[in-house]
């Protein structure tokens, strides 16, 4: 057993018994950890009450050295940092979407401190907004960071097949998850798995600093593309996706 004291964010929590929970935590230095929190559902516990997604604070975990046993959470000092996510629906949904994708993208004990910081920052920013329009740029920005940190950043500045620049001409472009990036007009016919992308949306995706000022239609198109891409990567649609784009949109 290794004793670990760290800052953590709860990605997921399931009730394990009348009194216990199994929680998936993201820690900055040790990555994802699944741990049992015994007695967490009792009114008085060492976890400041039941642990829910977005719970954030100092944790103490006894890390199990064998892969088939759960680690044990012995303490969680919850700071209440992301409380404002509980009072607006669009932000709560975007936050849950970020947690779901983060959990699906990494194995346990694979630390990504930059991603941890990006996620915490994203949740802080979400807490300040309540309109879907304001929430989307924050979500899209995080989804691109997540792909980057997972080592699968798609190529968006040129054709991923031949390297031809795709910025000019104003013609529709294509995106392929299997090719992991854009396809130019000359290459797209060779790929069956692909999705149309407008040049304007492509230009926006290459200028992340400009997301917050982007028109809603382009942000929606970008989110549809990302949902399509994550669906291909995960071999199923993410559960939170339908709160952002309808499934038909994501697949078209």
């Amino acid at each position: 057993m290794i004793k670990l004291k760290e800052v953590a964010l709860c990605l997921r929590a399931v009730n394990y018994s009348d009194t216990s929970q199994v929680v998936t935590l993201l820690t900055r230095e040790h990555g994802k950890i699944a741990a049992i929190a015994k007695g967490a559902r009792r009114p008085k516990s060492a976890f400041d009450g039941a642990i829910e997604p977005f719970a954030y604070g100092q944790v103490m975990v006894m890390i199990s050295e064998s892969h088939d046993t759960l680690s044990t959470l012995t303490e969680f000092v919850q700071s209440g940092r992301f409380r404002s996510l509980r009072s607006n629906l669009a932000a709560m949904h975007a936050g849950l979407f970020a947690l779901e994708l983060t959990e699906a993208s990494f194995e346990q004990s694979d630390p990504h401190p930059t991603l941890f910081d990006a996620l915490v920052d994203m949740l802080d920013r979400l807490g300040q907004y309540d309109k879907m329009q304001a929430v989307l740029p924050v979500l899209i920005d995080y989804q691109l960071t997540l792909l980057d940190e997972a080592g699968v950043a798609p190529r968006l500045d040129a054709c991923t097949n031949c390297g031809a620049p795709t910025g000019s001409g104003g013609k529709d472009l294509y995106f392929s998850s299997a090719a992991n990036g854009l396809l130019c007009g000359g290459c797209e016919q060779a790929f069956t798995e692909k999705r149309r992308l407008s040049p304007a949306c492509c230009a926006m995706l290459n200028r992340r600093a400009a997301f917050t000022a982007a028109p809603p239609a382009l942000l929606t198109e970008a989110e549809q593309l990302l949902v399509y891409h994550f669906t291909e990567l995960m071999h199923r649609p993410p559960k939170m996706a339908k709160y952002f784009v309808t499934r038909a949109n994501a697949m078209s």
């Binding site: 997921r12 009450g49 829910e52 604070g57 919850q78 209440g80 709560m92 849950l96 779901e100 559960k239």
Partner: protein, 200 residues
Amino acid sequence: MNPAYTQSLNKLIEQFGNLPGIGPKTAERLAFHILKAEPQEALALAEAIRDVKTNIHQCRVCFNLAESEVCGICADTRREHNVICVVEQPKDVISLEKTGLCRWVYHVLNGHIAPLEGVEPDDLTIDALVKRIRAGGVTEVVMATNPNLEGDGTSLYIHSLLRNMDVKVTRLARGLPTGSAIEFSAASILQDAILGRTPF
């Protein structure tokens, strides 16, 4: 399955064992109690179980448990039918009624929205709630979903549907439990108490 027992006895033990909080030993003890009991006493239990399953259904108006088309609360004309308290399950109605403070009527959602578990708004009785309010005569909707992430999300969703309707939406207060101490309170509870403070 104990081969020393008859088939019927084993079946009864198995049924008791399926109940929450009942282990194999207790199941056996209960089954033997029934076996030894007077026929009248044992059959009264069987009848009570059958009645619960055949007589109790959902209230047509509020989806609370009812033995007639409309539950006792909805049928009570002395209650304040202009105030609807929204709860997740019938058990919550019972808890709230025990306080003796409630004069309002209820709406039971039959659960909460849980996007990650695939429970969506359509799986609950939200449509019926909106129809009740649209029908008029309702001045206040009190959100009494559980104060956890799913409960809060469910209330937010319902609130978003009611935003353009002429009805006041409130929710139960949260914060420091009576008899507790500030020193030992979690940050989230203190935040609720600070932000939700009320005039003295």
